[in-house]
Amino acid sequence: MPALKKYFRHILCAIQETTAYRASYFINIFSQFVSYFAIFFLWRAVYATGAVIGGMDWKDMQGYLLISLFASALISGSSEFRVSRSIWTGNIAVELVRPVDYQKANFAITVGNGIAEGVLVAAIGIVFAVLIGFTVPPDRAVTWLYFLMAVVFSFTTKFLIIYIFGLFTFWTTGGMGLSWFRRGLTDFFSGAIIPLSFFPGWLQAVSAALPFRGIVSVPATIFIEQMPESQILVSFAVEAAWIVGLWYFAKLIWHFAMRKVTIHGG
């Protein structure tokens, strides 16, 4: 399959690229932990009375936060701005003269970055879990399987959302505002800040109708074994449908965006 080989090679190059700057690689990952420490201690204070909130006790919450950290770290800064940076610097020109599908190539690069960062984040996550005394990882093999699948869905969904927002740079020429908006939406509706089960009913309905919940809420809830099997399968089906829909939506945006390409000079 030579057609796949070229995208596989993108993954390999992206892994090398991510690890090229050792200091920035470690600082990047460390920074994720700092903000999660803050959230961790906030929730610890909330749970100090030993309450059960939204069906979750403190142990559940610890597991939820771990997975939230992991899912967020899988796609970090470098992937966030790749598309918008290449659009406003005009470097996209170079990428367009090659026989590659821009969307697939970008996905491959994001996978490469994700592997390079995700492996380390997972390793540190385990250390972190030991430090906080978190001791109840899922013991059923099938839960781990579901969890891994959920991570793949989470990654793909998040990539597509970032990619689509990146393409909007063709119209706005600046990527910063879009990125903040994108981050706000994702953090809120994915359950990264507050688990979705804490939301009032109507807001839960809204988040259920959006693709974001697959990014954090679904894998985290599967991990703490609070999602029944039937619901897991329904969630996966919905997420798969979202991924297919977003994939073609991104293609459509790309189609219109390409007509907007104006690379002056150089």
Binding site: P2, A3, K5, K6, F8, R9, H10, L12, C13, Q16, E17, A20, Y21, G90, N91, A93, V94, L96, V97, R98, P99, V100, D101, M258, R259, V261, T262, I263, H264, G265, G266
Partner: protein, 337 residues
């Protein structure tokens, strides 16, 4: 067979029209106004396989826009376009397999990984067979001297080294055509010469069609046989370099150094029609003459009657002067040959 063929090719952009100052910027936020900018209009090109063509024009003339349409980055607003028989925008991926592109101001090489890894990536992207890749890598490494930095990351390379890598990358998949947009911009003389030599060789030995834009007219005279000049989006000359000189450069000039102070008034009187003293200082002067009426020998003889010449230097008509005149609007070209 024409490998590049365009007819009535046009491209216009919509550009935001902002009134000056903060008020203008705020107005634009709520009620944006745009105007059409015509970058390229009515361009007819017909380039045969194996040609080496220079595409020249002042900044903003439409050179890069044309290249971007031919490479499939931009969608033309009008006209016909064919590259190797394909529509470069609508069949972008198929077209990109047959072409190589070098943008002097951008790079194809990944910034943070060793150069050789970028080469491998591009090998896989273009699906270059292992044998072809190995042969080409050896060939380009030798011609461009890549060996010394293949294992360094691109950000450590000098501009000249980076450009040599980009040239190798653009040709790795044996494209039929290579587009070069200002390939020698910012490079020193030695690297420029190396690159020109390389381009001439691949054009001659491999029959690769070259289309290059440059502001360095030495590039053009050295590498290209055919010249196309574009100004304000329109082609104003298409023909051989010699043809342009014959048609538009009537004058040659001789720089004279005399043994004593030159009597300028006397010298001016001594010159026949068609020979003029363009400038003179104490012991130096420049004589400009109509090269179709006089030979350099004629002129020297005339000069030597009034001035004691110790040294002279003949300046050949060069394309630089013609192009400069065109750019400055002092010369109107009327069609090609």
């Amino acid at each position: 067979m024409s490998v590049i063929e365009t007819k009535g090719l046009c491209k216009s952009f919509r550009s935001p029209l902002k009134k000056p100052g903060v008020i203008g910027a705020v107005q634009h936020l709520f009620k944006p106004e745009h105007r059409e900018i015509v970058a390229v209009t009515d361009v007819d090109l017909s380039i045969e396989a194996g040609e080496s063509v220079a595409y020249v024009g002042p900044n903003g003339a439409g050179k890069s826009t044309t290249i971007k349409m031919l490479t499939g980055i931009l969608l033309p607003s009008g006209g016909e376009i064919r590259v190797n028989g394909l529509h470069p925008y609508k069949e972008r991926i198929r077209n990109s397999k047959n072409i190589g592109v070098v943008f002097g101001q951008r790079t194809q090489i990944w910034w943070d990984i060793p150069v050789i890894e970028s080469f491998t990536l591009l090998r896989d992207i273009y699906e270059v067979p292992a044998k072809t890749y190995a042969d080409n890598l050896a060939y380009f490494s030798e011609m461009l001297g890549l060996d010394e930095f293949l294992n360094q990351s691109a950000r450590r390379l000098s501009l000249g080294q980076r450009m040599r890598c980009d040239l190798a990358v653009a040709l790795m998949h044996n494209p039929a055509i290579i587009f070069l947009d200002e390939p020698t911009i910012g490079l020193d003389v030695a690297v420029k010469e190396r690159i020109r030599e390389f381009l001439k060789t691949v054009n001659r030995e491999r029959g690769v069609t070259l289309l290059l834009t440059s502001h360095d007219l030495d590039d053009i005279e050295d590498v290209c046989r055919r010249l196309i000049i574009i100004d304000t989006g329109r082609i104003i000359y298409d023909g051989s370099i010699q043809g342009l000189l014959d048609k538009y450069v009537k004058e040659r000039s001789i720089r004279i150094i005399a043994s004593a102070k030159i009597d300028r008034a006397g010298a001016v009187r001594a010159m026949p029609a068609g020979v003029e003293i363009a400038s003179s200082s104490d012991r130096e002067m420049a004589v400009v003459f109509d090269r179709f009426r006089y030979t350099a020998k004629d002129v020297l003889e005339i000069v030597m009657k009034t001035v004691d010449v110790v040294d002279f230097q003949l300046e050949e008509p060069d394309i630089e002067r013609v192009v400069k005149n065109v750019y400055e609007g002092r010369l109107e070209l009327s069609g090609g040959t």
